[in-house]
Symmetry: C2
Subunit: 198 residues, 2 copies
């Protein structure tokens, strides 16, 4: 029997980075082109192409059933028009896989949607453990003034489906308002209503 | 399609409790009788039967492949003889299931063993993400002066095998020493050397 070796990764509490990460994905605004509702604001801001978020993939582990992958995500504070800086959002390629988020610093929202377009928003602050059930697409946004940092753990065989959200959009937008973030239906969302694979 | 609903649980950062937990498991020393190496010290301390740890099971979710369960564990500071307060320790009933721990406060050690008796010790402080690979038995202990609190996430179908460690013991002991915690081989450990299921 060949065993995988135990391992640990230290999250740098000052900024959420994992210095020993296996990989770091950096997403600038140009990587999210077309995802924000305010196209004019997006075009204008792409000129300076700010960093939107980084994902620190902690460790290279087998992408097998029973394994867990884990990462931290650091979303910068910022807006495109009234819309908060956010992740691309995805479904899992194996759509029956859940995911767990845990808020480390800053504040944000975990936005979820079913393929039919029902959406839910969960507020996240440090200490919030937020559960993404199977089949829900999910995206996070920073609604605060500081970087929003969270830990994620998910089945290693979950995989990513970014294409559906890139094509159809997300059922809700999270916009800055005078009384705090507002979650509103996205008028240009096309319900995917794909049959979930199980 | 019936979807599970998204949910969140707030971890109380002051003490690691989850006030909305689905279940709380409380383990006093009498629940761990026979697990500590110093039998005389254990017998003496059982008279006052101190709290050793609590586990806050965050949410009742289906125990199905693809789902994740999550919890916090709060281990009190204390010793039985020279041995630090610790959890019972377990293998997963589905031994090919991994687990992720994330240190929230205090300090401790994640001790792991293979059924053949090889052991590893990972130090945990706030911000340490520690990975339990499939097939490794695992136990945690508080090596500090404050409660040791960590978050755990694991596949919902992993299940628990407490019996093997209750019967055979753990391959290593973590003892208090003048220069800090010492991880030493347990002379009374019986290697289980069971064939891992998977």
């Amino acid at each position: 029997m060949k065993y995988l070796e135990p391992l640990s990764r230290q999250v740098r509490l000052s900024d959420g980075a994992i210095p020993e990460a296996d990989a770091v994905q950096e997403r600038r605004l140009s990587d999210l082109a077309g995802l924000f509702a305010d196209e004019a604001a997006e075009s204008e801001l792409i000129a300076s192409n700010p960093l939107v978020y980084r994902v620190y993939d902690a460790a290279a582990l087998p992408k097998e059933d029973g394994q867990l992958l884990f990462s931290t995500t650091v979303i910068q504070s910022g807006r495109v028009g009234d819309e908060f800086f956010m992740t691309k959002g995805h479904y899992h390629a194996r759509a029956d896989r859940a995911e767990l988020y845990y808020g480390l610093s800053g504040q944000g929202i975990l936005l979820l949607q079913t393929p039919e377009g029902r959406f839910e928003a969960l507020e996240m602050v440090p200490g919030t453990a937020a559960y993404v059930p199977p089949y829900w697409g999910h995206r996070t946004m920073n609604t605060g003034e500081e970087p929003f940092v969270f830990l994620a753990a998910y089945p290693a065989d979950a995989g990513y489906d970014y294409g559906t959200i890139a094509r159809d959009g997300f059922a809700a937008l999270v916009l800055a308002g005078a009384d705090g973030p507002r979650v509103v239906a996205n008028p240009s969302f096309v319900p995917t209503a794909r049959a979930p694979k199980g």
